[in-house]
Amino acid sequence: MLAMTLLLCVAMIGAALVAIRTDGLPVSILAAGLLSLLASVVFLVLASPDVAMTEAAIGSGLTTFLFFFVLGRVRSGEREGGEHD
Amino acid sequence: MVSAIFILAAALAAAFLLGLLKDEQRGVAYAITLLALAFMTWISADWTWAFAMDGAASVDIFTAGTEPPFAINLRVGLAEAVLTLIISLTALLSALAMKDALLALGRRAMAVLLVATLAFCGIVLTRDIFNLFVFFELAAISTGGLILLSDDERALAAGFKYLIVSQVISILLLIGIIFAYHATGTLNIDGMADAAQSILPGSRQAFMLAFFLMFMALVAELKPFPANGWALDIYESAHPAYSAIFSAAGGAAALYAVDKLLLVGGTAWLPAATGIGVVTFVGANLLALPQTNDRRLLGYSSVAQIGLILTVLGQRDVLGDLTGFVALGLLLAHSVAKAGLYWLSSLVAGRELSAWAALRGHPLMIFAFATFLCLLVGLPPFPGFYAKWELARVLAAEGRIALLALILFGALIEATYLFRWFGYTIKRDKPAEDIACASGNVIAICVAAVTGWVLGYLWGDAANVMLGRGNLLLALPLLFALAFLLLEWLPAWTKNMLAIAGLVGYFALTWGDYDPLRLIFFVIFLIGGAVILLASFHAHGRRVGFYPAAMLMYAGMTMLIEATDTFGFFAAWEILTVGSYFLILRGKHSEPHALSYLVFSLGGAFLILAGFALAASGAPLGVSPRLTFALSELAQVAQPLAPWVFLLLAIGFMTKTAAIGLHIWLPGAHAEAETDVSPMVSGILLKAGLFGLFILLMSMGKQQLYGIELTYVMLWIGAITALLGNLMAIFQEDAKRLLAYSSIGQMGYALFGLALMNHLGWLMALMFVINHYIYKSMLFLSVGGVAKRTGTRAMYQMGGLIALMPLSFIAVLIGIIAMSGVPPLSGFGGRWIFYNAILESEYRLPMVVIFLSGPIAFLYLFRLIHTIFLGQLKDEHRKLKEAPFWIVLPQMIYVVLLLAFAVVPGIALRRVDEYMNQFFPTGGLNWSGLNISSPYGYWDPIAIMIIVGCIFMTLFLWLLFVNRKAQKVKQFNIVFAAERPYRPETTHFAWNFFAPYRKALGFLVQPFVTQFWGAITDTLHTGADIARRFYTGNGQTYAIHLLGFVVAVYLFARGI
């Protein structure tokens, strides 16, 4: 149980770092979606199924979709505003 | 009453109902929205009435049928009811104001508006911390939505910045809530507060941190100083009606949330709240100085006011049950004023401050604008004034002087930029397009203005009930002044008749119950005022705005005399300051000078406020600082404080008598005022300062501060003021400025006399009060009459008017004879008493300075009469008529008065002389028949008058007899370098009349003081201009500011 949580946590932090540091925006959004998914698994480990379902449905499902939808609408913008600072 | 939950339920039901309507039915949707808002307003008004009238206890409303700690409960007390009333009323009026924007965007925007109101009411009502978080998020999202109402392109970016910041806030708040829950076991605020006391030391540190995070999140909602760039952008770009809601309702709700949270945190966190509040108040006010955009300026002012109220909340431990009275007073004043100002800004098209000049065509709007500014700055009869007084009293009692000083400094800056704005509105040229008089806006503004005055009455009543302060709005003189607001439609002369009748009537009613000293001031204020008002008959048309302002000034002065306790005195002091400000502002070029007058006067008034607060706190330790502090009790102030109180009050009063260093406002204010306003302000208003000094010296007498005798310092100040005032007067080219500087010099004399602290010194000062009133009013009136006829005030452009304006000449001649102290007239009496006074006093050196300023006074007087009336008559003035009858009449009255006073000075001075005995028994005058003798010399006015008269008449008749066939010739008929002069300009010697004096003593009149004050204002402006670059406009930077702010406060909090 402990080992699994450790693994999940490390994965989550990895996903978060990828989401922040990566250049491509789609990759970043996907990483955030993955993070959400991992989070819902952690919620299961922390004995809160309700939250897990919500996180899965809304967190990874809808949020990621919203991002892709807006990204689609703003495709050209992504290239031009891509550089970090 | 309807349960308060219906406020939330009704809003929600209406919002969902709007969804059902078709898009085209916008009218119906708008009607439903107004109906829902009206219903919410009615419920909260009903509750407010119940609490205020029957004083019922606060009521808890349970949801989900279970006890609070386990379910969310709402509480409705007086504070909550009033706040929900303000929130829903502002929302209703704003809905009216932004009718077209709402109709344009359709029913969705109306639903969002309803939910926004619901969210703010929820924040106020809920007692559950997580529920508070939900309502805050609801408010954030609805703000995001309502920002779209604005037609300003930049609103979108502002909305996005706001959402970024609210994300950071929600992170902090959530973490804070969960750890607080973990430490205390409950989410209910009251439950958490009880549990916090009994936390075992182990987890106390964790709870403190959790509370810190929650506290920081809520304070961030209050737009604290360094981290409020996002709020200012919203205020600037959002629809003004929405900004009204955001500022009035949003501010009120967030403040009450912080108040509830502070219950949990206990007294450990109050210093932090005070610190943040004061920094915000002073910082935002400072940065508001260089603002030019009106809505952004209002944003800064709103942030500052919320900071001030946070400070008051931070002082809860000291204010005790007064916290509600003070905080609510300031909050309501802020909400009503800010909402009103934003609605006004929706009328005005241009966004610069001077674009508001378009309001000038609508007197009602100007009245509303003035009401809102007075509400904000906290001038009497409004709630802010009572709140500021109680706050100052308590802070001084607790010895928190630095905090009081900061608050007063911030308030002074706020008054500066607000009234500078008012000056632009009244004086700058009107922009082309008039204001868009949408009915919704106008209704909202009028309701706000009326609410402002009603609040003033209510707070006065509350102060009367709770603290025994007189309700200002019930004071007869103030009511009389305000009545003139309603009579504005009458022609000027009827109003003038009414005013004079009022003044004289009031004098006749109440002159009996005053001691001789106050009676003399009372005579000058009322009867003197009535005589000057005679000159106002010359004006034609309605003269809108003159009479309310003038009567306000006179009301202030009468209340000053009537005041027995420090509160009444200070209220009167501020009323006359405001009244005289509006009066001076009427002059053609008087805007900058009126502003400098107001800033100096308010600065002085705040010093007096601090002085009285200190005096009240100085009461003997055993006795708790009393609520009312009688003026006479100033004498019993404990020793360590007494000199400080004396210092503060003396400087405060000396700003009004324009002592050197504090005098730069006087020349502009008196010279640029209207013809009949200059005598009022110069002849009468300066005496208010002297009256204050009389009261101060009568009660506190001599004071020592660090071994220096304060009255001795005042002696020197008086002497130097007299010298420099007169010296500066000599070199003036403008007649009215010359008289203004001469007033400074004369006030220096009077101050000197007062500071001598002996019987004759005070008598001389009083003699000066009477003399100065008579001849200064006369001179100002005559110079005003001449200026009206010739169209100029520059003396070198006039000349030879004796033939055309004989009456004015006689008035000025008698005036300068009296003023220069030449024997037959009353001026000599003043000088004679002065000589005896200085013989008695033990100081020597200041005498030298006063001796030099005596003859100098004679110089500028002669310059006045020579350049205007004597010498060569200019061509363009050939066909001038005498000054208007109504301006000449008061002058003739004064001439008769002067002669009478010269012959029989006893009528005024005798009773005052006996009255003085109770302060200085030795060294009085004894009045034996016609002769007046003092320990040193004697003076027989009637004998002098007769002897001089006889010699004069014999010689005059003899000369007339000898030259009975004399031939009258024009001025030009003179032998001049053996040729006949052609141009009058070449032979009228007037420009730079006292050139030798300038060469000899010019170095004394370099404008050091003006440069000094100029340097201060410039540093403030440039400093503020550089500091505001801090708001770069980048949303990310604002989030970084917020984080930095949280970390900074954490480091500071770790210190305590």
Binding site: - | Y835, R844, F858, Y936, V948, L955, V969, F989
Partner: protein
Amino acid sequence: MKIPYALLTLFIVVNFGFLQNALIQKIAARVGRRYGIPVWQNYIDLIKNYGQRSSITHGVMFYLGPVFRLSGGVGLLLFVPSIYGSEMFSNFSFAGDLILALYFVFFGTLGMALGAAESGHPHSAIGITRGLSQVTAAELPFALAVFSVALQYQTLSVTDIVAAQQGSILNWTVFTNPLAVAAAMLGFLGSMMRPPFDVVLAPQEIPIGPPTEYHSSYLALMQTNRAIFPVAKMVIYMSLFFGGATSWPVFFLKVFCIYLWSAFVGVVFPRFRVEQSIRWFLIWAVPIGVLSIVLM
């Protein structure tokens, strides 16, 4: 019964004034190795001016100028007791004390200024400016001296001050309070329109300053004042500093000597500009006055 005696004093002083002025001018001329005017010259001028028929006026104030001037001179003379001790020659001193005399000096100056300004002549206006500036500066040391004397004798009535100085010469103020007297005598120079400080009249530069436009009977009044006014002022100096006069011969002698002091200085020094004279008074005369008060 007071009035005839006052008129008698007036008559004596007028004649004494005419003779004294002529004598002083003769002395000044002799210093300049000129013969000088005959002693009775002033009487001739007076008769000539009153005799002139043609007279014009520039308005009411023009009339009042000389009237103010002369009544100032006469008033000053009569408000101060000429002869100490004699009831006859105490004139109208019951009406006011030293301060009345001090401020009555301005009455004449004010009148003169107003009258001259009404004449419309630029020279008189320039003369007035110079006159006022200089007189006010000269007034200060005198005022300080008077204050110092008043402090010394603790009274403002002239008779009491003179009474305090009776007895031997040594109790004259000049010995008991030398600084005050020094300041007063320096101030005295300024007010006597003699050369170091006669820029006001400036005979060569602007023909006799303020009274430029005056002629015939107006000038006559002014000349009678020119006789009375200096004597009246010197009466005050005499009473305050030099023990006052108990009889007319002593009166004439002391007044003449005081006048000589201004004459001697006048013939020696060139003319000051106005700011130079102001600075001179403020740098030299005033400190002495201040010292006299502070050391009292």
